[in-house]
Amino acid sequence: MAESRVNAEKYFFENVYKLSILCCSFAMFSSKRNVNFNLFPVPDKNMLLFRKIVKSALSLIVILLLSNFSAAAAPDGKAIFQSNCASCHNPLKDATGPHLQGVDGRVPSKEWIHNWVHNSAGVIASGDKYANDLFNKWGKTAMTAFPNLSNEEIDAVVTYVNSVKAPVAVAATAGAETKEEGNDWLYPLITIGLLALAVILWRVNQGLRRVVAAKEGQPIMKSIPFYRNKIVVALFAIVLFIGAGFFIVNGGINMGRQQNYKPEQPIFYSHAVHAGINQINCLYCHAGAEKSRQAMIPSSNICMNCHKGISEYTGATDHPLVNEEGKKIDGTAEIKKLYDYAGWDPTKKEYRRDAQGNILATPIKWTKIHNLPDHVYFNHSQHVAVGKVQCQQCHGPIQDMDEVYQFSPLSMGWCVNCHRQTNVQFENNNYYSIFQKYHEELKSGKRTGVTVEELGGAECQKCHY
């Protein structure tokens, strides 16, 4: 839900941005056209293009908003599924557990689903035939019981899994997006064309003047080449100084920053496959994000919770894995690599152990992507558990990344900016009850929220100690 809203906002801003650029250029061209460029064909074409884009952008916004609302019709189902079920179940494919789409048609009754989810071991013990068949089919592994889920919530999950469509749709929208961006090449082309035109006109103008002067018998001045013109030299020096300064300062500021850093990892682990297609909750693997300053890279035994059962990558047709160099990746081979690290023998289906019974596992040496300097204290749990910030806000569309890259600049300006704009969870957390003045102001409508900065979130020692 929230993700899609973020996306919608992004689309919206992107399009507004494009729109404004186009408006400007259009205004420029149209004003010129009124003067002397009557016959120049580009503006009209541009005008058409502009209209087309405005139309498509508007319709896109409308579609996105609508899709946003339609998604809101079944909000619980998706959320509950992702946080409770997705680590073992996929709506469309068998995973650790069976695929769930159409589950209501397969099982004896709706009540049976409720009982099963609340206490699967109990249903098996009651001697239910369907339950026992299922239990035997899935390697005699009982499903975790979820006694806390209400019947309505379970129904919502069922409704959600039935509504999930094959990921072809995702690919289609992605294609649409790239097409939209395909118009970008036009602008530099137009600019270059215009510049060339200006130079030609200037040369023509000069030539004509020379001809006129010759005709009128005026002495032809040996003109100083323009690059030795004092004004030009001065201007050039100033521009060079400003430009070089800009690049040096910017380069200096960006030293040690690694936005878009996308290193090769020891295992081609695709977040798109796990978090995107299979909808596994981020916190299932990165459990530390709620408890600790570190989000925690999962140990290989956590991977093996699912991969004991999943030994090959079957999605290669729907979602082929391709690395940064364009090389095709064999998902099944990557899972084999995991087995080597985890000490799992896929043929015997058991762990390799030493004489003392310890599993012969070796840790995976991932290349760290998000590097903060040592003097920065960052705590994931503060942001995830208290601030209720979505992972994607800083890590970007992680569910679409086959190879993870650093989405955000992780610069101090970026941190502080968010602290300035973000409201704290003031109403829902009793911790903040000590800020009586702010509470009064909220009640009286004097303010709509309290930002992190207003509670001291932009002070040095919130992050540096």
């Binding site: 040690g256 290989s300 599993i359 000590i434 509670l455 020692q461």
Partner: protein, 1063 residues
């Protein structure tokens, strides 16, 4: 009592030229520029400056523009269930060092212990700790620890090989077998020892304590028929008389006693009762500093003092010492002791004196009230005579095997050569030392014991009080616990862990009880029994024995363990403890001869050196006894008896103990590491105990000098008043005396500057604090609104209960990764301690009985109107809306303006790269003795939540902001407001006397709010309040329970000039 003059040292009292110069110079050494001949002729002229500038810019660019290194993130292969990376785990355990005991909670981060704090569930130590407990975690990561067992000075392949050798040696042995240990308080280890003794019939267990309490044990045996120690209740005592027992610093169980003592010293306008503490001692201890009335005597007079006090409480015989003040004090003390609820303790190791003290306690009815015989203490069990027998047996060739656990007689036995000679005759000598210390080097086999943080174990510090030791990390090296080794050699097949587990499962009856006990760390009796014992000692015999003792030489020697390093052991190699300033002398990294100022001046011509603390170069003196001699620098200690000198144990170690401990000569030819004082201990054949006072020495002056790094004068207030002290009588008469004094100072500024106002009248304004805050400045009061919203941190320090024990200093160092700088840089006033304890003397330095001492812990005061903040050119220090003065290291460019402008002198500059935090190579400071701090192993002690500071930045107390942030985060996750006490600073947690309070001063329910606004508002003051810097740390005035101030309140008492001082 504002006219009372305090002085940090004699140079301040006398305003010597050195002192004035040192006060005028903020930074001790000259800047490395010579500009005396004008800028162009300077060593570093303008062109060089430009060259340097260019070079450093280019270097910085090069260093910074290197490619970002590729970092790896390596998760667990199989994650242990109870470890979440980044979240600390806490385990209850017990600190045991010989008989010294403290119930602790160990903080581990990602599987490694990083901090040891007290276990609040224990009623013995009440969640507090000491400097040594705090520093014990550093010993775990000591680079010098043995990494494998040794046989004949070489690495033994395995423990099995050692086991074979030992078993064979024992099997073929017909001679005596000795098991020599320090005091053992572990019930299971005692069982293991019993098994061992049963297996080898010729075996005998001898307990030997480097600092022995044999005199007390023997006296108790004679007095009550029990060779053990009772429990003391300083909290129940109305009158405490201590005869040379430093019970707040080093005597028996100081953590326990300081906690009890402070309960009787909490005084406020509402509760004007407090205990009265008399102290008679030859030297100056922190117990003496805390005392209400204090007198000095010679060590050879301790027996006579005990006799006099006995005479006073039995039949009122007036004492007749030449020291009139001592007579007066004793009469007063006897009067008070007779009123009931008295307690007399004595630090002497002489059986006869202790017997007399028992007799006094019996007479005044202390036994059964302040002394409890129902619960005995197991802290010390060594009987000195047994050690003498052992040494004699070894030299007579009667001993076939000796096993030495946690003892180091080659270093700390008084006749070390005799012990070594004996040891050479023993076929099988086994040491369990964790390093190649003096004894391990002389042993055939070394089977290193694991550190207590790596082992299973238990302790029974007092009868019925049990305490568990559980490992917090797997053994770092190939070491094995002593009990495990002994069990193996007994031929048992079970491991010690199983044995231990079985023992406690049986004793506690079931897994659930066991788990609970292990989790809480302690088991204590539900009801505390209190009972007395009938006294049967032979008093007249003791008196006769005391009177027969020979009179002392003109100058007598007292040997003492320091608060930091104690008896020696592994502590000597602990850089934190080596650099911890001694509470009284404020000296670091050395031992020295303590001497009264008068003696130093008159007999040792050392007025220009030793007498002042500004001049580091101290005159040396040589102490001689028999054929032994000891040359050490003289450090002047006001308050010492004029005929006494004192030397500390724990120095003069072999290089095998470690780099920080090693004594000898450094590469510049300077003597380092102090000298060993144990050879001056003697065995008193009459009392059958070791004597730590030597009355037979001679002492000679020398012309040589030695530098001693003393910290007290490093940060000066230039004589501004910073302490308020009253007698209880004065305070009872007018509890508002301090409020009035404060009003007289700040009342003038409680109205608007342009409004008409008169000079402050008598009395005070109850709202003066608020008014002063608002009107005491011409600038607008910007922070008014946020100050009353949310959190505003505040700290309160009670000077009345602070004992100066410095546990807070080391706790702060451990928590905040504070660098150790080494002696060379302490000499240059570069020490980094965020929290220092200032020591102030008052009184007449020539009259030791008149000297009174006050301690004042001093750290960043987190001023709301901080002078440091507005001089920083880069805004590296700023104020938070929670009242914290924030120091941002990564912004700091090291101008040091803030340190110049700080009135409290609490900011510390990183003059060197102490710990490799710089990104430049080859920049690390090295001075040999402290360098192990930078070893990869030792760096495991660093707190990962606190930045390690690099060269060129300023640092100071942060109020443990990492703990505050963590406490706030926990509260936010729970969705509850922050509870008072959830956020505790490291110093507060360590404080044994509960003197430091900390909390949200905006919360009317908090302790800090109550102290400031109701409970203790009469005693509350801010240091240098009149500057309008608005500190967030307040102090509570010192109250001495006397009817008159002995000295120091009148101008003529003070030695204001040189001539008077010499008189």
């Amino acid at each position: 009592m504002s006219q009372k003059k305090y002085w940090k040292g004699l140079e301040e009292l006398n305003e010597t030229a050195d002192h004035q110069e040192s006060v005028a110079n903020e930074f001790k050494e000259d800047l490395p520029f010579d500009i005396s001949g004008g800028l162009l002729e300077a060593n570093t002229p303008r062109r060089d400056f430009l060259k340097f500038l260019g070079f450093s810019t280019a270097a910085a660019m090069l260093a910074a523009s290197c490619e970002m290194p590729v970092r790896k993130a390596i998760p667990y292969a199989i994650k242990p269930e109870d470890i979440v990376p980044g979240v600390p785990n806490f385990y209850a355990s017990s600190f045991v060092d010989g008989g010294d005991y403290c119930a602790v909670i160990v903080k581990t981060r990602d599987g490694r212990p990083i901090k040891v704090d007290g276990n609040p569930k224990s009623t013995i130590t009440n969640g507090s700790s000491s400097a040594r407990v705090q520093a014990s975690v550093l010993n775990l990561y000591d680079k010098t620890r043995l990494r494998f067992p040794m046989a004949d000075g070489k690495e033994a392949p395995t423990f099995e090989a050692i086991d074979r050798t030992v078993k064979e040696g024992l099997a073929g042995n017909t001679k005596q077998v000795y098991l020599l240990t320090s005091t053992i308080i572990s019930p299971t280890t005692k069982e293991v020892i019993a098994k061992f003794l049963a297996k080898y019939p010729t075996a005998k267990h001898v307990t030997y304590d480097a600092i022995s309490y044999s005199g007390m044990l023997l006296a108790n045996q004679e007095s009550y028929g029990k060779a053990s120690l009772p429990s003391y209740h300083f909290d129940k005592a109305k009158t405490i008389f201590s005869l040379d027992a430093d019970f707040l610093g080093t005597w028996l169980s100081p953590i326990e006693f300081a906690g009890q003592y402070s309960k009787g010293r909490k005084v406020s306008a509402k509760n004007l009762t407090m205990s009265r503490h008399y102290q008679v001692e030859p030297t100056h201890t922190i117990s003496g500093a805390a005392a209400d009335l204090r007198a000095t005597c010679r060590p050879s007079e301790l027996g006579a003092v005990a006799i006099a006090l006995y005479g006073l409480v039995t039949n009122g015989t007036q004492p007749s010492f030449s020291n009139k003040h001592l007579n007066e004090l004793l009469s007063k003390a006897a009067e008070d002791l007779k009123k009931g609820n008295g307690l007399v303790v004595c630090g002497s190791n002489d059986k006869n004196i202790q017997l007399l003290v028992n007799a006094i306690n019996d007479k005044i009815g202390a036994v059964g009230t302040t002394i409890n015989w129902a619960i005995t203490s197991n802290y010390k069990q060594g009987i000195d005579a047994e050690m003498q027998t052992l040494v004699a047996d070894m030299n007579a060739g009667k001993v076939g095997a000796i096993f030495m656990q946690d003892v180091n007689p080659v270093y700390d036995y008084c006749e070390s050569e005799k012990f070594v000679a004996g040891l050479k005759q023993v076929t099988l000598s086994v040491s369990f030392a964790d390093r190649m210390d003096e004894t391990a080097q002389q042993s055939k086999i070394v089977a290193p014991d694991s550190h207590w943080l790596e082992s299973w174990g238990d302790a029974e510090p007092k009868t019925g009080y049990y305490s568990f030791i559980q490992p917090t990390i797997a053994p770092l090296f190939k070491t094995r616990s002593f009990s495990e080794s002994l069990l193996k050699w007994t031929g048992e097949t079970t491991t010690y862990q199983d044995f231990w587990h079985q023992y406690w499962m049986t004793k506690l009856g079931g897994q659930a009880n066991f788990d609970k006990a292990l989790q809480e760390g302690i088991i204590e009796p539900a009801n505390i029994a209190v009972s007395g014992a009938s006294f049967t000692g032979n008093v007249s015999g003791a008196i006769a024995a005391i009177q027969q003792a020979p009179k002392g030489a003109p100058i007598e020697l007292v040997l003492y363990p320091t608060i930091s390093i104690g008896h020696g052991g592994a502590w000597s190699n602990n850089p934190w403890l080596q650099e911890m300033p001694d509470p009284i002398t404020k000296a670091t990294w050395d031992n020295y001869i303590c001497m009264s100022p008068k003696t130093a001046k008159e007999k040792f011509d050392s007025e220009l050196t030793s007498i002042t603390e500004v001049v580091a170069d101290k005159k040396q003196a040589t102490i001689k006894w028999k054929n032994k001699e000891l040359t050490l620098p003289i450090v002047v200690v006001p308050g010492m008896h004029n005929d006494v000198v004192a030397v500390a144990f724990g120095y003069g170690r072999d290089k095998g103990v470690g780099r920080a401990a090693a004594s000898g000569v450094d590469k510049d030819g300077k003597s380092i590491g102090g000298k060993n004082a144990y050879p001056f201990v003697s065995f008193n054949t009459v009392a059958q105990t070791f004597s730590y006072n030597n009355s037979e020495i001679t002492i000679e002056k020398t012309n040589s000098t030695h530098e001693v790094a003393i910290t007290q004068t490093h940060h000066s207030y230039e004589g501004r008043p910073i302490i308020h002290e009253y007698t209880l009588e004065e305070f009872s008469k007018d509890p508002e005396v301090l409020l009035k004094e404060r009003y007289a100072e700040i009342g003038h500024y409680t109205t608007k500057p342009w409004e008409h106002h008169e000079a402050p009248k008598e009395g005070f304004d109850p709202n003066m604090d608020e008014k002063f805050r608002e009107e005491g400045t011409l600038y607008p009061n910007y922070d008014k609104e946020p100050r009353n919203e949310g959190i505003h941190w505040g700290m309160s320090i009670d000077l009345n209960t602070c004992t100066g024990c410095a546990a807070c200093v080391i706790a702060c160092q451990a928590e905040n990764n504070i660098s150790v700088v080494g002696k060379t840089h302490v000499l240059k006033a570069h020490e980094m301690h965020w929290l220092r304890i200032d020591r102030y003397f008052s009184g007449n330095p020539n009259d030791p009985d008149s000297v009174q001492t006050v301690f004042q812990p001093m750290m960043c005061q987190h001023c709301d109107n901080a002078p440091c903040e507005n001089v920083c050119p880069v805004n590296a220090t700023s104020h938070s809306n929670e009242g914290l003065n924030q120091m941002t290291y990564n912004r700091c460019i090291g101008t040091k303006y803030c340190a110049n402008n700080c009135p409290y002198k609490v900011r510390h500059f990183n003059w060197m790269d102490w710990n490799g935090a710089d990104c430049f190579d080859d920049n690390l400071y090295e001075d040999d003795r402290r360098d192990d701090m930078n070893d990869d192993l030792t760096r495991m002690v660093l707190n990962p939540d606190v930045t390690v500071r690099s060269r060129g930045v300023m640092e100071k107390c942060s109020f443990c902001v990492q703990r505050l942030q963590a406490a706030k985060l926990d509260a936010k996750k729970d969705g509850n407001p922050l509870k008072d006490g959830a956020a505790r600073t490291a110093c507060q947690q360590a404080c044994a006397s509960n003197s430091i309070k900390f909390g949200n001063a905006n919360d009317p329910e908090s302790e800090i709010y109550k102290i400031r606004h109701s409970e203790d508002k009469e005693r509350m003051f801010y240091v240098l309040e009149q500057l309008h810097v608005l500190p967030n740390v307040n102090y509570l005035a010192k109250i001495r329970n006397t009817d008159k101030v002995i000295a120091g309140d009148k101008k003529e008492d003070l030695m204001m000039n040189q001539s008077k001082l010499i008189s």
